[in-house]
Structure formats: structure tokens, C-alpha cells
Symmetry: C2
Subunit: 340 residues, 2 copies
DNA sequence: GTGAAAGCGCTAACAT
DNA sequence: ATGTTAGCGCTTTCAC
């Protein structure tokens, strides 16, 4: 059998409670006693039983990551960050893909949350924006941290994110700076607030440069490769096409590349293409994508840390944690060969 | 407060134990009693406490997925399959990325396993092949199912996988059938047994067709995009180059595409490229990749099911579960324009 | 077919 | 600074 806390206590010649104190780094233990207990625990290869801990206290040493199938790369990065933060503090991460059909919280989700023995939940877009979720979480009393939520949500609960508007502005400014005047823009999924913010950034930078943006240069996508393809097909249909396309994520930018390839439009000579996210995909396609590096990994680890540290439990207002971004220039963008 | 089993028992007018029986689908309960209990549980919105369950019994309702950073897409697919199977049976999935430096099991891993309160573990390549792991798992008495393990491991423990040799043969035969005679092959990471099997399949199909494979047509990669790039650069260096390249996974095939793009070698006109896995990447790059569809998602769900059903606990020999594959022909392959 | 009692391994609250 | 006593919510004997 594996050793229990009483075994350790016996070997160390102290009480159960003292062992517990040492294990949980609580005060009121002599350095000497502490050492003795640690030695005993090591000797018996003692590992605390998480179920017992979870039952006796309310700490479960478990966090959950809820996601609604955005890009696999995006989730993988969040997950990597979160597991890293968890590992350092003895926590584990449970992953829960959930589909929220037409924005309706399902009973399924409520049931899931009620029986999920976790100390906190990380929410990814578009889940991070769902107002109805706040009530559900408050109801089951589980702290949560939304990643990249809307301005509205940001005001209510601690969150982590980045400055999508500024990032989109910077990319647009860069495209303008190398000579583009006619730039197409592919919008992300409407239920992600980042979509609106990025569009806002694009428009504001265009306006600031005195550049006009006709209606037909703005197309609605949903962050999927397929949607990017459909938008690119429209944007690249006739002779009157933009000299650059800025897509709201890398998947859609890859789709633009794919459509351009099929139409024998050379990138970046005849068309510049920019993405957003800097997922692994960006470096792996040809030509490699100019994009915005989002600190996705960090978002995951910071969200996990906030939950573990109990930041979300304080009543004070915690300002949203905004992480840095960078613009990454690769081979998919260049000055335009022709003026439109 | 959330309702407990005693609340349900009181409301249903039965004992705790009877409620427990109903919840766990145990026999010896009248249909009538069963209904009454279920009604009471529903009314109180009762959710069993997993920590308490885990403490009282040995069932934790938790499975773990251990992985050592192969492609994000690959892990995402396994994870999707596993979570799906878990959801259906009231289980949850804990994810644990682990690095196993130069094939050495670390104490860190042992400690992790000892304190991880799970009913079973899913192992992905290259972890699935590590002989030392068997001892560790036997030691901590946690059942595990390796995905795509070596022949050696297959003989010892229940596992899920596919027929890598036949799949590689089929792809090679397809390339030969459309006219290729000079085919380059990029091998996967040496510590993945699938790498050897795929190479074996390639060579055997070439031999069966009476085709010679010079040494310089076989290059060693490691499944990463970068390694694929290095191999492609060698393969495509001079005028004496193959008319087709078969890479052992999609990431490396994408790298071949990328190098070809840079060198202005047109795919599939001047060069055919085939991959293996059919990850999301394959359909997203230009041109879309001819590849082998691996049932990765299914592998994840079958592995989870085996663990949940306790298949791995029986002493009988369970034959490895071999799942079907398909060859997916897309635009990256075509008959060769020139004969080499 | 059903129930009563005894823990599972740990921590919380209260001694000492 | 350390120990004692109760549980946490459930499943497991073993009675009935």
C-alpha cells in the first residue's frame, strides 16, 4: 500500500496535523520538526491523496480549461501555458471541450460544472464573452478567468487579454507604410469580441492615414479556414482587387494564400497577406506569414496563476491583465508592384 | 449548499446505500424504488461529489493524457477523441505534457504519476514505446494504453494503433501507379516506432515494383517542420532530384512544399509531395496535401474507452486494436512531367 | 431488496 | 508549537 499521512506521522514521531502543516507550508512548525517530517515523507515516498484533500478541504488542486473548438493551435498554446503554471504549483488541468449551440448555455454545461471538482475554470473565446456564463459560475461558486473577453466582461471580472485594437492598427500602419493603399480586411467570428476590436483597429488606422475603405473591402469571416477561402474568393474575383489583405487570424490568412495559389496570384509580388495570432501555422506555410504574435501561451499561464493564487476571490477590482504583442514581418508581405 | 446523498435519501425515503446503488447502476433495487430515487435526485439537482467518490472507492472518474510535444494537431485530435469518450461516461480528462529528456524516465514523472488521482493513462508516441514506463506504471498500479506503440510493446499490453506498414505501402504504390519511379523518402523521429514501420512499408513497395532506392533518397527527419526543411533542401539541391517526395508526416511534407516554393519548383507539376496523418494542416496549405488519413480521433476515444471499461485489468491477452486508414488524394501529387 | 455502521485520507476547529 | 477530535460525502462490508 501507499503510505498515508498517519504513516508519516508515526515515522516522524509527530501528530497527523503537524505533518499536514508541513505539507501545506503552514506556519507554527519548528524548522527541526519540519525537516524530520520531510525526511519521513521522502523515506516513505509519501504522496498526498488528492481526493481526500479535496473532500476535507475545498481545494481540489484541479483547474479546468473550457473551450469551444477554435483553432487547435490556439487551444494547444493556451493549454501549454496553463499546464506549465499548474505543474509548478502541484495543480493539474482538466480539459473540457464544450459546444454552446447558438450562444445558449445548455443544461449539459451546468451539470458539467456542478460535478467538476475544480478550483477554477479558464474560459477561452467565444466562451469568455458569454454573459449568461457569469450567472452559472456564480451559482456553482467556481472562480473563473476569461481570456480575451469583451470590454463589458472585462469590467466585471478579472481577465487576461491583449490590446487587439492597437495590434490591428499597427499591422495596418505597417501595410500602409510599405505602400499599400487598397487593403482588404477579413473579419473574425462575430461572437468573438476580438473580431470587433481588430476591425476597429484596422478602420481607425486607415482613417488616420486618410485612406478610404469601400464596403466591398470588408468581408465577414468566422476565423475558420473555409470562411477565409470564401472571403478571399470574393476579394480576389475580378481585376479590381486590393494589393493587400489583412485577415483577422492566421487560418483565414492561410486560406487567402491558398486561393491566391490557385489563381496564380503571386504572394507577395501581386498580393500581400497578413494574419493575426502567430500560431505554428504561420511559419509552416509558404510563404511564411506576416502576422501579430499574440502571447497565447502566456495568457494560459497567467490565467492559471490567477486562479491558483485566488486572485479572483478578492472583492477588489482587479484590472484586466493586458499582455504584450509584436508584429512579426515574414515573406507574405512586400510593397505593392502596382498601384490599384 | 449543494445536495448530498443523504438529502436525496431522505427525500426519497430510502437509505443512503440505496441511493448509492441507483447512482451506480447496481442490481438489487426495485424499479419503483429506483424511479423514486431518480426523481428525488433530479429534484434536488443532486451531483455526486467526485472527491468523496474517489476517496471511498478507488474510482476517480479521471483519465490522464500524457504527451511529449509532438504536433499540436495530433495531440488535439487524440484529446478530442478521448474527451468525447470520457464525457459519455461521466469521466474527465487531465492533460499532462511531459518531457522525457533522452529517453530517461525522470523522478519528476514518477512523482507525477504517484500523485495523479486517475483511473488510467493514455500514452502517445514516443512515450508509448518506452519500456521503462511499464515498470513505473506497474509500480504505481495505474492501467495505461499506449497509442501506436512498437511491436514489442504491443505484445505486452493492450494498445490501439493502425497498420503503418500497409499504409506507407499503399501511398508508395499510388505514387508508382501514377508514374513515379524516383521517390525521395523522409523518415520520422527514430524514437517513434511508427517511423520505422513507415519506412519499411515504403521500401517494401518500392522493392515489389522492382524500383531501386539509392541511399541519397532516404533522409532522416524527426517529424518537425524544421527537420523536413533540412531534408527537403538536400533532396532538392541539384538537378538530380526525385520526381516525388513522401514525407513521414504532414509537418515535414509542408516543409517540402515550403522549400519547393522558395526554389520555384512547382508542385505538383515538377514535384509531387505526399504526407502522412491528415492533420488539419494538410487541407489548409497550398497545394492541399495528398496524405494518409490516420484515425487519430478514434485512437483517442478507443484508448479512453478501454481504460474506462477496465479492459486493461483483465489478465487475458487483449490483441492490439488496429484502426482503419485511408489514402487521401489531393492536389499535391500528379504524374511526373519528366522522367528522371 | 434494503439498511446500519465503519471507514477511505485528509483538514478545520479547537484544545493544550 | 503541537495534538485531538470531528467530520467532508461517499462506498464498502455485513446484517437483516
Amino acid at each position: 500500500m501507499t503510505a498515508t499521512i498517519t504513516d508519516v506521522a508515526r515515522l516522524a514521531g509527530v501528530s497527523m496535523k503537524t505533518v499536514s502543516r508541513v505539507l501545506n507550508n503552514e506556519p507554527n512548525v519548528t524548522a527541526k520538526t519540519r525537516e524530520r517530517v520531510q525526511a519521513a515523507a521522502a523515506e516513505l515516498r509519501y504522496r498526498p491523496n488528492l481526493s481526500a484533500r479535496g473532500l476535507a478541504s475545498s481545494r481540489k488542486f484541479l483547474l479546468a480549461l473550457l473551450y469551444d473548438n477554435p483553432s487547435a493551435e490556439y487551444i494547444a498554446a493556451i493549454q501549454a501555458g496553463a499546464t506549465e503554471a499548474c505543474r509548478k504549483r502541484g495543480f493539474h488541468l482538466v480539459v473540457e471541450p464544450i459546444r454552446v449551440p447558438n450562444g445558449e448555455i445548455t443544461t449539459e454545461l451546468e451539470v458539467l460544472l456542478q460535478r467538476l471538482p475544480v478550483d477554477g475554470v479558464i474560459l477561452t473565446p467565444p466562451l469568455s464573452d458569454m454573459n449568461a456564463l457569469k450567472d452559472v459560475f456564480d451559482d456553482v461558486k467556481i472562480p473563473y478567468v476569461p481570456i480575451a473577453p469583451s470590454e463589458e466582461t472585462k469590467a466585471k471580472v478579472p481577465s487576461v487579454g491583449m490590446d487587439d485594437i492597437t495590434a490591428a492598427e499597427e499591422m495596418t500602419q505597417y501595410l500602409i507604410s510599405i505602400g499599400h493603399k487598397d487593403i482588404g480586411f477579413i473579419v473574425g467570428a462575430p461572437d468573438h469580441s476580438a473580431s470587433h476590436l481588430r476591425k476597429t483597429g484596422f478602420l481607425s488606422a486607415m482613417k488616420a492615414a486618410g485612406l478610404d475603405v469601400p464596403q466591398n473591402r470588408i468581408l465577414q469571416g468566422d476565423f475558420s479556414f473555409e470562411s477565409g477561402k470564401a472571403c478571399a474568393q470574393k476579394l480576389l474575383a475580378g481585376a479590381d482587387r486590393p494589393t493587400a489583405i489583412f485577415a483577422s487570424n492566421d487560418d483565414m490568412a492561410a486560406a487567402v494564400l491558398s486561393v491566391a495559389g490557385k489563381k496564380n496570384i503571386s504572394v507577395p509580388n501581386d498580393l500581400s497577406v497578413a494574419g493575426f495570432d502567430d500560431t505554428a501555422l504561420a511559419g509552416v506555410i509558404w510563404p511564411p506569414l506576416t502576422t501579430i504574435r499574440q502571447p497565447i501561451h502566456d495568457m494560459g499561464s497567467r490565467a492559471a496563476r490567477m486562479l491558483i493564487n485566488g486572485v479572483t476571490k478578492t472583492t477588489e477590482d482587479i484590472p484586466p491583465l493586458m499582455l504584450e504583442h509584436n508584429i512579426i514581418v515574414r515573406a507574405s508581405t512586400a510593397p505593392p508592384a502596382r498601384q490599384s
